[in-house]
Symmetry: C2
Subunit: 208 residues, 2 copies
DNA sequence: ACCGTAAGTTACCGGCGGGTCAGTTAACTC
DNA sequence: GAGTTAACTGACCCGCCGGTAACTTACGGT
């Protein structure tokens, strides 16, 4: 006999679906790139059918936009919080931020979004602009403010704040791109040690 | 009458074709991205038919590989030359290299190849690896050698040479990515001035 | 128990684009 | 010139994938 309590072929879970689909999309986009992943791949990984995805997102492009927006929001909040908290001790805050950034960008999963943005920005300039405004500009702006605060307290030299911000972040990002995009060998140095060595150099300078 | 000396509908130019096709491919890939450009777009821009392209390149992927290889070669030679020439005056050489890099990466055309590599490296890991070995590793290696030379001459502090190389190049590349990939506003500061300010910071340090 | 509806599914369509093929024509050789 | 070869083209093929339409099923309300 067929049990009257057989488990349903699928469940109605309208609340959870969008997040699950976006999660699957991030994973697939990271592994194969946006253009090469089929909507059906995303659907399968999220545990529903392709048409199911189209119940929540109007198009593949829309899926990408929604993904970036979702991922950007928490980063933007985190940046603002860190910057605000560090005004009293700019040097300490900068140390903490660079260390945290070095740690975060060492994790392929946490570098996934920048990776995707980098690869699709050519085809979707709005996405590039969105990411720049909400993450890059915001983050560099926060560091620049910390630098200004440090100048006023007499700890930092009075150089261009944007240059200072880039000098702090640039090498970390270069390393991450080299590692995750170009497939570089991580080597034996830990993210923390790398951050330390980098900070020492930028703070004290390269000259003898 | 139909002139017997009418100009031919096309010319046989087997020697020039490959280069022209690669040039067209670079332009199209830069404008639209690799995935979004059709082989026919490349063909049209190169002035022949789509089937003509397939006389010289086995596939679209092959076209991409050939392009990267062609573009990488001169850069690799240039790097080697600069590094060799600068051993006597490491500080001067580093100044020159950073200034030249800042200048070069400000030009969208000269940043086109890195841009394309960045965007396709996910789908073609061999291309990422190739670029890393022949350009990034090579370039950073040359800078690291200059740093070692400077340490021995007593001009530079004895820090990790790879860290030093990244600190010199990272901020410049970050700025280029911000400018050309994310669509940042160039602003009024000239590439030369930016290089100067950056060098001043990294050489003398951020601390008061 | 039985609706009504929203959440799913399966099956399909259409066109786009990578790649090929059969024929054409430029240009070199003798 | 006639013959040969290799460069080049136009027209075509076909598989893939974004998107949709028509149908089913879970499930809350009465």
């Amino acid at each position: 006999m067929a049990s009257p309590h057989r488990k349903p072929r699928w469940r109605r879970r309208a609340d959870a679906r969008p997040d699950e689909i976006l999660g699957a999309a991030l994973a697939e986009f990271t592994e194969r790139g946006f253009e090469a992943t089929r909507v059906e791949d995303v659907a399968r990984r999220a545990g529903l059918s392709k048409a199911g995805v189209y119940l929540y997102f109007a198009s593949k492009d829309d899926l990408l936009r929604a993904l970036i927006e979702r991922e950007v929001a928490p980063v933007a909040r985190g940046v603002a919080a860190l910057a605000e908290a560090g005004k009293a001790d700019p040097l300490g805050a900068i140390r903490a931020i660079v260390a945290a950034l070095s740690q975060a960008t060492s994790d392929p999963a946490r570098f996934a979004v920048p990776r995707v943005v980098l690869s699709v920005a050519g085809r979707f300039p709005e996405i590039g602009a969105y990411y720049r405004e909400h993450v890059v500009e915001h983050g560099l702006g926060a560091l620049a403010m910390l630098h200004r605060a440090g100048v006023e307290q007499g700890v930092f030299r009075d150089v261009d704040s944007r240059i200072a911000a880039r000098a702090l972040v640039g090498p970390v990002m270069l390393h991450a791109a080299w590692l995750h995009v170009l497939g570089g060998d991580p080597g034996k140095m830990s993210p923390a040690a790398r951050a330390e060595a980098h900070l020492d150099l930028v703070l004290k300078g390269l000259l003898q």
